[in-house]
Symmetry: C2
Subunit: 559 residues, 2 copies
């Protein structure tokens, strides 16, 4: 049941509070819900076979009619990526976002054939939109994607500031600074609740300006003797602009490579967020007519993704782009946690082909898009909120951001670490944790959304470790006699056609035969018991002889 | 055939040239081989189910009698860990090492019941040992483990310097500086070949002294209100000494926790490398009698190992050690690449239990044991080698170290990047790559050493992604008729007892039935073709309907 008391708002965190990714928050007032962002997360190593991870929004199933709209802060996957999967489940809400964010979203919706169905409304910084009982005013936020905003959300219970992802870049590439003036005004007006980005709370000081990367690129690129390949995130339009500018200065044409890079450059140019002259671009075919020192390739694949163009180039498997000794590769990107080994392998392979490689560890060719501690402090000081809840971060980031708020003078009782699925009331009675709601992570695996769960992941982990062993046995239904087997098949357990494997499997088979001989006819008819016993015998045998724990699957047929 | 020419030496790199880990090098002169180190590597993420990785030394099978000895530079796993597995295969060589290295090795050999068989000879810095035609002179090298050495190796063809792992710590905890004086003398004498540690060649400047960590510990620990847990590498004896010293200063007793921590502290104390008074130690049982602010626990588990004591403490699963809100945990260790997510999860879980956590990212509580660029330059300047081959590093590190040598003035023809399995001649005729030899990585999986290879890993990866699907079919031998099946079993593919899974598997079964009906009796008798066709039909069905690629195993029985 919705709580309709007029003196408080409620927070419904669906994602991003306890992880970097799948950001999604509901704000409830008087029974109505405003949704902010609807992002996805990329799978962690233990999520075998999973393609994407979404927040579980089943708790909103009965509340569809109460949703007044979905407002997006910016166009990164962890803020918009879940929309095609969840939009229908959310009751098909109207979506509000800035121009570029809508451009990126539209492209995504097209892939899912949803573009003609979703109602998209463009919003602009400092222009208020009414979504009763909420009034939302976006304000400019500088970030590693253009056209980002934070949100000032007015409710009868008070004003809420949600920073979205942001940094305070004093010299942003497009001159669109985080709107500190408006934040200051809102702070003066009086803010009930601040929700702020915690991603970089571990970093002291200030995050460097995006423009510093441009300067480094302008130094490196002219020194490169041959072809230059720059890999970066396809959503980082400012970075792409700076790479293109540096290429132009160095007299190089640009080839855009990689599906998302091509489509994002296209969208950003159409919407006026990228200023690159048509004649600066070349095609793959035309590239061959230019000497290597006049070419620069902008590509995806900076995270060492196994199937990316860059990885194929590094392995010499790319059909059109061949790397030659003396070429240069610039990874203008972060080593995202979890991808370090893949990126490291990518760099090693590029060096093996004779390229020179510039990367985060050795050159200043990347800056973060998130605010460091001093920037966060500035926002806390300007906003002066009555209450503070850290958002966007793993648990430790949220704790550290809460600690920062307390260091800034906030009373300890006015801030807390909120996690996904915890409902929080904020109002005249202070902060109060309500009954938690059902949420979690929904796995996308191929075309299946939400079918793969703990059990399947557990089985996959088991299979990954030591493979599978199948014990086949056929029993005659009427005589109760074994008519086939026991026969053993394995995959990923021990090598086939190998003497010691054969000996091991012969021993295993013997152990099952012994079990069958020792036990009475009754056991043969109690399949479940037989399965359990066979599994036990095999497990013991393998553990003792080779100390491996394959998944054991006894298949017993009755003929 | 061994090359016995008197004017050159040959390098036989078995491991460590192309990876961080499994360091092992052979130096050959006049048909005799000196081995340096024999280390292991911990598995990378793609090596499913693998416990350890060893260098492949099968190329030495016929050369056992030519091996004059195995000399160890220090006691880290990546330098001594493969010995128990390979010592017999290497023809049971005599092993030469310093006191602590021998202590750690002896402990390891005991586990493998080899301690009474291996002949161990203790060596000391500046004391020459004759292993004709080689003469080996160890010299002190400061590193993140005590009692490390580099090696000066004399041959009639010239003098070789092998740095082992090292840093130039100007204020080492035990006062045992890297012996720059001896290196300088050797440099004056004239060095044919330098082999130097490349691990930290990406780092500008100097690596901080180990003593700086002690100071930080002395600042942090007295501020901790309750119990303190410090996790570090059990081989880092200096770190343990500094933690113990800081604990003593803060009036805290010490509990040593974790199997390798207990055994290494024991060995180091017995051999005089750790100075901690007996009364400073407490047992787990005694700990309960002390107030939390008088206790400090030194433990393993700093890499977020899932079964470590620290992880169990973080998850609240540890029987004896319970974490309370307000306790402090210090991770005095590096985030080893590949372990970042696990460590990050560990930290989040510690915060979830209310602990305050200090770690590399937020506090200066770890320094590296490897030389940064300025230190490497100093060594190159002192040694002034005729030739240089970088060792200990991934491919990019070796390239960057080669580049550094060239920047230092070495002629480009006098240095190269050597990889495992490449044989290199070094002598009056310069550097020359010889016929490569067979080498690679040997996987240890449970009790199996070397049986698991590419195929099994490939199957495990396949199983990990989307599980396994088994298609069971029994055919009557005489009639050629199907007597059972087709029946489908799955694990890790789709959930059991789920409507859409049932529909999918029913469709798959139907597709197989259609195949069987469409095709003639002949196909049923050609099992191999039948298997291929069944696999093809199922693969197509699953890909189309759910876009997953499980491992498909058709089991066809003839009854």
């Amino acid at each position: 049941m919705a709580d309709k008391s007029p003196d408080k708002i409620q927070l419904l965190p669906f994602g991003g509070l306890g992880e970097i990714g799948m950001n999604m928050l509901g704000i409830e007032y008087a029974g109505k819900i405003l949704l902010i962002d609807c992002g996805l997360m990329f799978p962690e190593a233990y999520m075998f076979g999973i393609d994407l991870v979404l927040p579980d929004v089943s708790a909103l199933e009965d509340r569809r009619d109460d949703i007044v709209g979905l407002v997006l802060t910016h166009g990164h996957e962890d803020h918009i990526g879940a929309i095609p999967f969840l939009w229908e489940q959310l009751g098909e809400p109207v979506i509000y976002a800035t121009c570029l964010t809508l451009g990126l979203l539209r492209n995504k919706l097209k892939e899912f054939e949803l573009d003609h169905r979703v109602e998209l409304v463009q919003i602009k910084p400092r222009e208020k939109i009414d979504l009763p009982p909420f009034q939302v005013e976006p304000y400019r936020a500088a970030h590693s994607i253009v056209d980002g905003v934070g949100l000032a959300i007015r409710t009868p219970a008070g004003l809420i500031i949600h920073t979205g992802d942001f940094k305070i870049d004093q010299t942003p590439v497009d001159g669109e600074n985080t709107d500190l003036a408006r934040l200051a005004e809102l702070g003066e007006e009086g803010v009930l609740l601040l929700l702020a980005d915690s991603t970089n709370v571990e970093n002291e000081g200030y995050t460097l300006s995006e423009k510093t990367v441009g300067k480094v690129l302008e130094e490196i690129i002219p020194q490169c003797p041959q072809r230059v390949i720059v890999a970066t995130f396809s959503s980082n339009i400012h970075r792409i602009q700076q790479i293109a500018d540096a290429a132009k200065l160095a007299g190089r044409k640009i080839l855009i490579n990689g599906r998302s890079m091509v489509s994002n450059v296209d969208i950003a140019r159409q919407l006026g967020y990228l200023t690159i002259a048509e004649e600066q671009f070349i095609t793959l075919r035309a590239m061959r007519d230019f000497p290597p020192e006049q070419v620069l390739i902008i590509t995806t694949g900076s995270q060492g993704e196994p199937l990316s163009a860059l990885m194929r180039i590094a392995l010499g498997d790319h059909k059109q782009i061949e790397l030659e000794a003396g070429d240069s590769v610039i990874l203008s990107s972060k080593f995202i946690p979890g991808n370090e080994k893949a990126i490291s392998d990518l760099i090693n392979n590029l060096y093996r082909r004779g390229a020179e490689v510039f990367y985060e560890k050795t050159s200043e060719i990347h800056v973060s898009g998130h605010a460091s501690r001093e920037e966060l402090k500035l926002v806390h000081n300007l906003v002066k909120p009555q209450y503070f809840v850290p958002v966007h971060g793993e648990y430790r980031h949220l704790v550290k951001h809460k600690q920062l708020a307390i260091e800034m003078g906030l009373a300890e009782k006015n801030t807390l670490v909120l996690e996904n699925g915890q409902k929080l009331s904020v109002g005249t009675a202070g902060l109060k944790l309500e009954e938690p709601f059902e949420t979690g992570r929904v796995f996308v695996d191929g075309k299946g959304v939400g079918d793969v769960g703990r059990m399947e992941i557990r089985d996959r982990r088991h299979l990954a470790n030591h493979g599978v062993v199948i014990l086949l046995l056929a029993i005659n239904q009427s005589t109760g006699k074994i008519v086939h087997g026991p026969e053993i098949f394995t995959k990923g357990f021990v090598p086939e056609d190998n003497q010691s494997s054969e000996a091991l499997l012969a021993d295993a088979k013997q152990a099952v035969c012994d079990l069958l001989n020792e036990h009475s006819q009754e056991m043969l008819s109690d399949w479940e018991e037989l399965r359990v016993e066979v599994r036990k015998v095999l497990r013991r045998c393998f553990n003792k002889q080779i100390a491996r724990r394959p998944l054991i699957l006894p298949l017993i047929m009755q003929l």
